[in-house]
């Protein structure tokens, strides 16, 4: 058993590059998904029925499709209609679009729960449009949505493991490759599990520091 972990240790560079790729994938797609969500959420809450309807259809549709199937469609299905993406691009695109729907729903929930008064006070003080959004609406919104966005980040990290099936060299893929070459399944995968756990603990620590900030501002 110790010997098995020795083999995994000798392959640490592979595992670390997998961990790095998982982190890069998750952070990039979380940031992109959040940006897209900032466009989708106002549309979701729009008084224009048709616009709200289309975005609602997209958000609900994404929530009904398994991520793995969605990744398959982007990677294997889109070439049929003439759009061929390599595995990195497909992985990023799939993770981003899929999670943008969830992020939009999260932001909508947090937005709807925000009190109206500070916004009206902001308008009364002469803030408008972007200034109002950036200075008055956004900070409490992000603080309120922080924990749920953190949960979604953990979900994104776990979803990124599915991308191993399109041969993206992330953490699970690295563990699989070590296991298939040295036949040390337990050591290889349990190490991956603990690395995932570590990533999630980092996010949870981040969330609780946001929480403390939110408490301090109250």
């Amino acid at each position: 058993m110790i010997h098995d972990f020795g083999i995994v240790w000798s392959e640490r560079n592979l595992l670390l590059s997998g961990l790095g790729n998982t982190t890069i994938l998750s952070v990039l797609s979380a940031a992109a998904a959040l940006l897209i969500a900032f466009v989708l959420t106002p549309a979701l809450m729009s008084k224009q029925q048709w616009l709200a309807g289309i975005v609602r259809g997209f958000v609900d549709g994404m929530r009904c499709v398994p991520f793995l199937l969605f990744a398959y469609i982007v990677y294997y299905g889109l070439p049929s209609v003439g759009l061929r993406l390599d595995n990195w691009t497909s992985g990023l695109v799939a993770l981003t679009i899929y999670n943008a729907a969830y992020m939009a729903e999260i932001l909508r929930g947090a937005w709807a729960a925000q009190p109206r008064e500070p916004i009206e006070a902001g308008i009364a003080f002469g803030f408008s449009n972007l200034g109002l959004f950036r200075r008055i609406v956004l900070p409490p919104l992000l603080l309120a949505a922080g924990p749920v966005i953190g949960n979604q980040m953990i979900q994104i990290i776990k979803d990124s493991a599915f991308l191993t099936i399109i041969a993206l060299p992330e953490l699970t893929h690295a563990a699989s490759s070590i296991q298939s070459r040295h036949y040390v399944p337990f050591a290889a995968f349990i190490t991956a599990v603990f690395l995932y756990w570590g990533l999630c603990l980092v996010i949870e620590a981040g969330v609780s520091s946001i929480d403390r900030l939110a408490m301090a501002r109250r």
């Binding site: 929530r63 776990k158 296991q179 995968f189 995932y196």
Partner: protein, 215 residues
């Protein structure tokens, strides 16, 4: 894509639904027991459960499944794809269910528990008659949400060779060199299943909100 192909995907759907239901039915009571162990603060065990839930919530199902499927035979436990799939689903969903149950247990009003104690109910009876009926109600939306999440991770089971909806669709796509149609059939099968659960969750939440408003 022929009629036979669609039939093959439908057969996959039977596998997906059967495995999901099995995972849900086994995972629910295990999740509840884990939550009760933590709630009752059983020494040592409660800490182990906490760490278990924390690790399992952070572990992608693919990684867990590969670990079980390849490592268990290595230590002498023979395991087939189907049993590995069910075990992985149960281990995963039990951890999430535990959190849902525990949240309801934590919010359970202490005075009712003490009232039951004062009329002489034993611990088992107290739990069965007073605590359980009420936490089932308050946990229901969270549990249904977890069920829809569980169905959405089942395509991963294909990695060890379980022929579910996704695997059947991939296979047909590889045979016909046109993967898009079978994938769309697969989406058309998953979406209603998940949609029913999501609607069920919203309906329960609305009904409970109405009942609360009436009270």
């Amino acid at each position: 894509m022929t009629g036979g192909d669609i039939l093959a995907i439908l057969q996959g759907a039977v596998v997906t639904v059967t495995l999901s239901l099995t995972g849900i039915l086994i995972g629910l009571p295990i999740g509840l027991s884990l939550a009760v162990l933590r709630w009752a603060d059983v020494p040592v065990v409660a800490r182990i459960v906490t760490v278990y839930v924390s690790i399992l919530r952070a572990t992608p199902l693919v990684t867990l499944l590969l670990l079980l499927f390849f490592a268990l035979p290595n230590i002498g436990i023979a395991i087939g794809p189907i049993s590995a799939a069910i075990l992985a689903l149960v281990m995963n969903t039990a951890a999430f269910n535990c959190e849902v149950w525990r949240a309801s247990l934590m919010n359970f009003p202490r005075d009712q528990y003490e009232a039951a104690q004062s009329v002489g109910m034993g611990a088992g009876l107290r739990f069965r008659r007073i605590v359980l009926p009420q936490i089932v109600r308050s946990s229901l939306p969270g549990l249904v949400n977890e069920m829809s999440l569980l169905i959405k991770v089942t395509p991963v089971l294909a990695v060890v060779g379980v022929v579910d909806i996704t695997r059947a669709a991939v296979r047909i796509g590889a045979e016909t060199y046109d993967p898009l149609p079978p994938f769309l059939v697969a989406v058309a099968l998953y979406a209603p299943i998940v949609f029913v659960l999501v609607s069920l969750q919203r309906w329960i939440e609305r009904r409970q909100a109405m009942a609360e408003a009436a009270a």
